[in-house]
């Protein structure tokens, strides 16, 4: 990381700061619990109309007829937007010039390529009129047979998986490794399609003013959304103002602007009035992404000591027929376990579904549950304790690349979590533990990992002559606590008490903070904030040290410390003065500076950067009914610097609960004939309820990482799912002796 300033702002300096590391409660918490936080759909500009999508009930074919007359005749309906009258766009929604540019369904033609695809938009004076208008369209279709399921079409090897990584990779020769092994296992695991299901549906409130656009919509990436919309409408990005102060969850589905959101903008264009469009829950099962299903086969070989000789991880996944996103599940085997030979490969089928997308720990979550299950099977095949087996195969360097880790406190995670959990007394064989009530009891573990990613971000810092500070960056708070964590980093960066710092975020007219995704937002935007703070302090220091009237005169930048709204001489802390005094003497009302956050290419080249963790699970299983309950989860995670332990713990809890969800609950049930999702609602698409989450403990393991970035931050948003889902599956095996091979684990799989 190249610091853009001359002032010494080493991590050691920042660590003395009074805000970073404090378990502050959410600064937006009060607004949220009192209903004062304004989410996108809470906005009602004057003259606003309501837009409602009509969506396809077939998976494939074309819309042969729509009764737009009937819809228009309905009282309150203002307009019906179809391919015939949809305002022109500057580019084809099917154009794609980079992997992050997803093809959108914007009524470009009458084709249907998945169920719940938008086929028309009804705009009306009331939500009710628009809803009924959409129903009155009574579409007629020419339908073709739907392609459903992982065997529903011819498979092929995609050109890239995830964000463009190779679909097939290897190191060493796995066949040789397998042949030389003393013990081998092979197992296949299936994971279902899952939908992000953020509590807040995708919503947009939009007003045009000539060629200017004012938009309220939840977004994990404001600048990207702005750029995408600008491209589609052929207007300048600066003409588009997007506000996204709060997201009711996103999990990846709000990373890119989605088709329905753009249809809201088109609808407003068509009618010349502000428009609100909010997806209904069932409409979120299609156009806003999902986690693709996978079928993964793992082969492993072990020598006489239980050392891996080969890992072969193959994943079959699915994408839509018209766009590319391939869940990089097999890549999970690249980073965790040492082996002389590792091969990962993917193939895919194209189905009549919406395009899959990043969903919290994309690839890592699906891959982890299979890898951790297979590791458990391998340990058992070697007659070894699963923890001992993992330690035997501990990767001292990144297995696939041979790079050293920038930091890796995984051993300590294993130790702390195992001790807290009480793992040592676990019997090796399954089906040996019963509780006092007779329930089968099982203990399982999994290793968690997630890459420490950084993207690009900018921030602007201001110091004012009243001694207060301002920090601006277009960061996005999905509920993870960005409003709080970034304010903490800003306070330390500016050398101010947090209450003296005004922090602005969540708006596209602020400096580009990049994307809240890939667990990289705190590191990336945090570094931008940190650097902007350092830069403005450097300017302030210049003003003081260059002025004879200042007690800091001649100290030079190296010799100045910023703390509590004052600059001090490093060599003599009795000599200092307040920011206000410095600015007033200089006759300035404020000074500003900018900072950037970005990965450092040199350290990127040298080091493998990952967060790690260990999760231990206890489950109870009813021996007769196969009903499962997770009774205890203990996770220990090492992810570099902790900005706010309360928020970080919440992220781990959330991830671990998602792990329960992955192992036991979530599944989109698709009709094998029509391709329609049968449980597109939160009554039947299960996620855990409170009673499914009895006891979750997250331990924060100390980890200093001098290489990831100057603040030493890795990400915490996604790692909690990984490890946890596998730990639960392994605990179910330990309880019952039945190895779960498809997820979610079902009652009938355990009935015996």
């Amino acid at each position: 990381m190249t610091l853009e300033l001359s002032l010494n702002q080493q991590p050691a300096h920042a660590r003395q700061g009074s805000s970073i590391g404090q378990p502050l409660t959410r600064r937006d918490g009060f607004l949220k619990v009192t209903g004062g936080a304004r989410y996108a759909a809470d906005n009602h500009p004057p003259g606003m109309l309501y837009a409602v999508l009509a969506v396809s009930s077939i998976a494939r074919g074309r819309v042969a007829a729509l009764d737009t007359e009937a819809a228009k005749a309905h009282k309150g309906v203002v307009e019906v937007m179809t391919p015939k009258n949809r305002p022109a766009l500057a580019i084809d929604p099917d154009a794609k010039d980079n992997p992050f540019m997803f093809r959108l369904d914007l009524l470009q033609n009458d084709q249907v390529r998945y169920p719940n695809q938008s086929i028309a938009v009804v705009i009306a004076e009331t939500l009710e009129a628009a809803t009924e208008g959409a129903a009155l369209l009574s579409p007629r279709y020419e339908a073709l047979p739907a392609r459903v399921g992982l065997d529903g079409a011819k498979s092929f090897v995609p050109r890239g998986v995830g964000i463009g990584g190779p679909a097939v990779q290897h190191k060493g020769d796995v066949e040789t490794g397998l042949r030389s092994a003393k013990t081998r296992i092979e197992a296949t695991y299936e994971t279902p399609a899952q939908y992000h299901n953020a509590m807040e549906p995708h919503a947009i409130v939009v007003a045009w003013d000539g060629d200017r656009l004012s938009i309220d919509t939840p977004s994990q990436g404001l600048a990207m959304a702005q750029g995408r919309i600008a491209g589609l409408f052929g207007i300048a990005p600066e003409n588009i103002h997007i506000r996204s102060p709060f997201l009711g969850g996103g999990f990846g589905s709000k990373g890119m602007i989605s088709g329905p959101q753009v249809l809201g903008i088109l609808a407003a264009r068509l009618v010349g009035r502000p428009v609100k469009l909010v997806l209904r829950r069932e409409q979120m099962y299609g156009p806003v992404g999902h986690r693709a299903p996978t079928r993964q086969t793992l082969r492993m070989g072990m020598d006489g000591e239980g050392r891996l000789t080969a890992i072969d991880h193959h994943a079959r996944t699915a994408s839509s027929t018209f766009d590319d996103f391939f869940e990089p599940a097999a890549d999970a085997s690249h980073t965790l376990y040492a082996s002389p030979a590792i091969a990962t490969s993917h193939d895919a089928v194209r189905l009549d579904t919406g395009t899959p997308l990043f969903m919290r720990a994309p690839g890592e979550a699906t891959g982890s549950i299979a890898l951790e299950s297979a590791i458990d099977e391998a340990a058992h095949a070697c007659g070894m304790d699963p923890l001992e087996f993992r330690l035997r195969n501990y990767a001292e360097v990144e297995p696939m690349t041979g790079k050293p880790f920038s930091s890796k406190a995984l051993r300590e995670c294993y130790r702390q979590a195992a001790e807290t959990f009480g793992w040592a007394s676990r019997p090796l064989q399954p089906r040996l533990m019963r509780d006092a009530d007779g329930f089968l009891t099982g203990w399982g573990m999994g290793t968690a990992t997630f890459p420490a990613l950084m993207f690009q971000a900018e921030a602007r810092a201001v110091l004012r002559s009243d001694g207060s500070g301002l920090m601006e960056t277009g960061a996005q708070d999905m509920g993870q606590g960005a409003w709080t964590a970034f304010a903490q980093i800003a306070a330390d960066g500016l050398g101010l008490d947090i209450d003296r710092v005004e922090f602005r975020a969540g708006s596209s007219d602020l400096p580009n903070a990049g994307i809240a995704g890939g667990s990289g937002h705190t590191a990336t935007a945090g570094m931008a904030i940190h650097n902007a703070g350092a830069a403005v302090i450097a300017r302030l220091a210049d003003l003081a040290t260059g002025n004879e009237a200042s007690p800091l005169f001649g100290a030079g930048n190296e010799g100045v410390l910023a703390r509590g709204g004052r600059l001090y001489r490093r060599d003599d802390e009795s000599r200092g003065e307040s920011y206000a005094e410095i600015l007033m003497r200089a006759g300035l009302t404020e000074i500003e500076a900018h900072g950037k956050g970005a990965p450092d290419p040199a350290s990127q080249e040298t080091y493998a950067k990952h967060a790690h963790g260990a999760v231990f699970a206890e489950v109870k299983v009813d021996p007769d009914f196969g009903q499962i309950r997770v009774t205890r989860l203990v996770g220990a995670f090492a992810a570099g610097r902790v900005i706010n332990p309360r928020l970080v713990r919440s992220q781990y809890y959330g991830g671990m609960i998602w792990g329960i969800s992955f192992a036991l609950h979530e599944e989109a049930i698709t009709d094998r004939r029509s391709g329609r999702i049968q449980n597109a609602n939160l009554a039947e698409y299960h996620v855990p309820v409170n009673a499914d989450v009895p006891s979750v403990e997250a331990l924060l393991v100390h980890e200093d990482d001098p290489y990831v970035n100057a603040l030493g931050i890795k990400g915490v948003g996604e790692i909690g799912i990984t490890g946890t889902a596998g730990a639960i599956a392994n605990a179910v095996w330990h309880a019952t002796g039945v190895r779960p091979r498809r997820f979610p684990i079902r009652i009938e799989d355990l009935l015996g």
Binding site: F439, D622, F625, I669, Q678
Partner: protein
């Protein structure tokens, strides 16, 4: 929005008169009806809002020792009525195992009886469904049907009735009090819901305009209070419909079963009274062997309607466990996880 008339009658006769028009529907708690209307599955032209009819809101003890529960008593109010819960613990347990606290606060006795199936094809108006549209066909057959019926189904419909409340009610000989154009009549709950046969759209004994005014439990129903349980296996610990459930009630004297009641939920288009199992139980020794024979009898006619053969074996095991639990006695306090196998229902087999 589709326009409909909204009528709020002041009396029962007014309500019945208002609902006599074709296309009318009573609105009680609305937790099912409004969802059906939003989804386009039901589109009544006239809503008769009975939710404020005061006389339907009472729990009355009858002179003959029975109880009469007004059709508008909320599910939560009934379950938490101390006297009621003491006399009919399995009913209270079933009520509290259903839905969520918010829904139970809104849902009513009558509405619970009349809630529609959760068959996803019934809700998906693009699918063929004989229940929604007679003669259209049944897309659940050959579809995603692992939770569908294993008893009493027909090729016309394989849906289940989702109610928990109805399961102990049917076991305890509940009677539905109905008021219609021709006055008041009583139908046993066992006869109230219908099996699909060739006419799955005829779900129950109501005629157009009929109003459920109350559900009665006879005096005898309280005689099981010391040995009555409801057990519900589901796919998450709370807030899920039953995969299979059972209500069991016993009177045991000197190790012999003097009276027995058994009903299953989640297995058929109606709450399933297992009379053949009761016959096995009556007069037999109260032990696990008897219970296993009873379970076999209860499921003797079961057959999978799709990918759901596991429900038959599951149902057998649930019957056995429910009977063991009933035998070991109603707990003094309702468990924190009502009807859950994880509420420490005794009888989990240590040797399984």
């Amino acid at each position: 929005m589709r326009d409909f008339d909204y009528i709020r009658p002041a009396t029962i006769p007014d309500a019945i008169a208002a609902a006599a028009e074709p296309g009318s529907a009573y609105l009680a708690g609305g937790t099912n009806l409004l969802d059906l209307m939003k989804g386009g599955i039901a589109s009544p032209e006239r809503i008769v809002d009975i939710s404020r009819l005061p006389e339907l809101n009472r729990i009355e003890r009858l002179d003959d020792g029975g109880v009469r529960i007004g059709a508008l008593v909320r599910n939560a109010d009934l379950a938490y009525d101390p006297e009621f819960a003491k006399s009919y613990p399995a009913v209270a347990e079933a009520l509290l195992s259903g839905a969520s606290a918010q829904l139970r606060n809104a849902a009513t006795v009558g509405g619970n009886l009349l809630q529609r199936t959760r068959c996803s094809y019934f809700y998906d108006t693009a699918s063929a469904c004989n229940r929604r549209e007679p003669g259209a066909g049944c897309d659940a057959l050959e579809g995603e049907n692992r939770l569908h019926a294993v008893l009493g189904w027909s090729d016309a419909c394989i849906a289940t009735h989702p109610s928990d409340f109805c399961v102990p009610l049917v076991a305890l000989d509940a009677v539905v009090e109905i008021e219609g154009k021709k006055g008041r009549r009583h139908v046993t709950l066992e006869e109230f819901h219908r099996l699909p046969g060739e006419t799955p759209q005829r779900e129950n004994a109501l005629e157009p305009g009929d109003l459920i005014v109350a559900v009665r439990l006879p005096a005898e129903a309280a005689s099981f209070s010391a040995n009555a349980r409801y057990l519900k296996v589901r796919e998450r610990t709370s807030y899920a419909f039953a995969v299979v459930s059972a209500a069991a009630a016993l009177v045991v004297d000197g190790g012999k079963i003097r009276a027995a009641r058994l009903a299953l939920g989640g297995v058929a288009a109606k709450p399933w009274r297992a009379r053949s199992a009761e016959a096995v139980l009556l007069g037999a020794d109260a032990n696990e062997a008897t219970f296993a024979s009873a379970a076999d009898a209860a499921l003797a006619d079961a057959s999978p309607s799709g990918d759901n053969a596991f429900k038959i074996e599951l149902a057998r095991r649930i019957v056995v466990r429910a009977l063991i639990s009933a035998l070991s006695g109603t707990p003094k306090r309702l468990p924190a996880l009502p009807a859950s196998p994880f509420s420490n229902i005794p009888g989990v087999r240590h040797d399984a």
